[in-house]
């Protein structure tokens, strides 16, 4: 099996660690070896957060620069900050959500998107916050929407993790109504992605 690197970026508090864990547990269920490297502590509070998910045997925790096969970005500025971690012709599934740091000067949404677009990558910008709000009533599950969409557009990721494996992983992370909502959000986002991927 070829190694597969997933980079998760966003702002601390957007559910990045949960997203990493959902993918990691799915890999474990599927019998794939994986390393999910996180950083906790003060850096999680409103700061820029990166989670490395490396699928493959006995890999080191941090992937090298420009080697991510798929970047899942929950915020636009963070997507632009880490876009050079994505390899040529790699995927980037980006939440269409701009959350500037306090007291900062920053590029506009259109600037950010057009610059990211100019890269040699397979880019998908999707309003995951909105998808999450429609299903769950808040943007809290944007992370799951991004994952569902990414699975839809990225065939090689889908070959590693089928939708039902990810659903099983959700069962280990959520309960009751939250589980049902996240499951249906995952599915809806997945189908959206499939459509776009074709």
């Amino acid at each position: 099996m070829r190694n597969y690197n997933i980079l998760i970026v966003g702002v601390g508090g957007q559910g990045l660690l949960t997203l990493g864990s959902v993918i990691g547990v799915a890999c474990a269920i599927r019998g794939l070896d994986v390393a999910v490297a996180e950083v906790h502590g003060m850096s999680q509070r409103g700061g820029s957060v990166v989670v490395y998910v490396r699928i493959g045997e006995e890999l080191s925790p941090i992937m090298p620069m420009s080697s991510a096969d798929h970047m899942l970005a929950l915020e636009l500025i963070e997507a632009a900050r880490y876009i050079h971690h994505v390899r040529r012709m790699g995927y980037a599934t980006i939440n269409d959500f701009l959350w500037p740091p306090p007291l900062s000067l920053y590029p506009s949404r259109d600037q950010l998107i057009s610059k990211v677009k100019s890269r040699d990558i397979r880019l998908h910008v999707v309003d995951a916050n909105d998808m999450s709000i429609k299903i769950t009533g808040s943007s809290i599950s944007a992370n799951i929407a991004i994952l569902g969409y990414a699975l839809g557009v990225d065939e090689s990721l889908r070959e590693l993790l089928e939708l039902d494996v990810v659903e099983k992983s959700l069962e280990e992370h959520f309960r009751g109504r939250a589980l049902e909502l996240n499951k249906s959000l995952l599915k809806i986002a997945f189908e959206e992605g499939l459509k776009r991927g074709e």
């Binding site: 906790h40 409103g46 740091p101 610059k115």
Partner: protein, 634 residues
Amino acid sequence: MLRPRGSKVLLLGNEAIARGALEASICFAAAYPGTPSTEIVEVLSEVAKECGIYVEWSVNEKVAFESAYGAAIAGVRSLTAMKHVGLNVASDILMSSAYAGVEEGFVVVTADDPSAHSSQNEQDNRWYGLLAHLPVLEPSNAREAYKLVKEAFKLSSKYKIPAIFRSTTRISHTRMPVLLEEDIPVEKKCKGEFTVDYERWVLVPAHTRRRKLELLKIWEALRGEDHYVTLYNQGLEKVIVASGLAYTYVREVLNLLNLTNKVTIVKVNMPVPLPRKPLLKTLEYAREILVVEELDPVVEMQLKDIIVTSGFKVNIRGKDLVPENYELTIEAVYRAIAKFMGVEDKLPWERVEPIKLDPPIPPRPPTLCAGCPHRSTYYAVKVAANKARLRNVVYTGDIGCYTLGYQKPFETQMTCFEMGGSIGVAHGLAKVIENPIVAVIGDSTFYHAGIPPALNTVYNKSSVLVLVLDNMTTAMTGHQPHPGAGITATGEATIRVAPESVLSSLGFKVYIINPLHVKEAIEELTKAFEEFKHGVNVAVVSRMKCALEVLRNARRRGVVLPVYAIVENKCTSCMACVKLTACPAIVIDPGSKKPHIESSLCAGCGLCAVICPYRAIVVTNKPSENWEALWWGP
């Protein structure tokens, strides 16, 4: 955590360490939380009752160490865990524990933080092994941590001395699938016996000198623990020695370079003391050796010693090729190994350059959360200091989320060195500078290391105002309880020792403020500052719970918190709310002259509404009647 043998589970490195310790039948664990070590004892506290073991959050690492050591000298297997700098706090007892030893397995986990992701330094705690004459084990990844921690208990039991288990951020905070080898034993030894033995437990000089000889014997025997070193491709001229996590990087890089079979690989899981025999065996054939290890040349220096004393002629490389700072990366190890092997060090994949934008991508340092009580306290403190005509106030700082107060617009953290340092350093400053000095310290940090220096300021008559930011929890590491919380690590009700009762007994006049009511807080603080100016020993306790806890409790209990909005036609774009709060919920859209409040982020603290000179910030929803209680109550 409690799944049966044969299960394959995704475990965080720290969870893997906890599971390994449970399988090794510990019955006692004590720690003070600190990134990246916290989850070890946190998960143990969650399963403590079910497993029938004792787990506590101690007030600091020294006390945690002493407690777990106490259990171990009475024959009960125990564990303590701390971040690297925590071992500095516990280093006094660490040194003594090596001399006196233990009756049952005792493992000291130190979670180091190369690259200082959440720390004030990136010290390499393997040195403590050399300093104390204690063995240090380090795993090569999160999965191996699970197995190796069990080995650490065996080693400790065998030699009757504490074993140091060194993890790092990328071990502790990496999740990997782990195949559980054993069940957690139902029968454990939880009751011990203390045998009086003056020569062993009383380290007066005469006893200490004898114990040192014992310790040196053990130290020499430890060098014979060869199975903590594994040799691959023996008998080659080029040798790479890799300790702990470095081994994983070395393996991956050798694969990338297609050189795996061209070198002898020496995998080290016991960097201290470095076992001699497997290295001597390697030296017989070696011409050139590269040592790859994260941070300091701990293995390299010992290996050089072995080479000098054994007389082999061999060229040894290490920190001249592998950086001594920051955590390892594939790139850094790739360059080092390529150079060592004499091949091109150009990375085998295309590098992509970062994008450039105008304005540039802004940095995003961690910030105080929306609704954070520290924001309101800092605002109130600065306004009150002005009102009381205190000029050029020096704010000494400490370790916690509130350290972020060094940022604009607060600038109320002008130092940050170590736990409790705010008050101790303030005292020294107060003796030599004229500025008014406010020592700012969090509640958990105050219990941890703030009480002795507070006592010292009173006793030695310096003028320091002590400000305790009391959110009634250890917030930064994920809300662990402490002596001011009224509950223990395992959720039992216990005595609550409020910071004000400690401060009063030390001789401070204590003011208690409530930063949710900003105006009243400013009034109280102004009074406190006035008294402070007149030479009274003043302390202020600012009490309001962590916003993350309040938001979580509101969600769980169905309590509606206020949500604020800016009324557009009242807003004059003065930007006071933006500039004076730096609240992440207040956002200015590109092209817009007026800020707005991102309602999904607003926690309803109301600070911006108090600050707005035009009363343009108002509550837009109907909050529950009892919402305020969430900011103080349980």
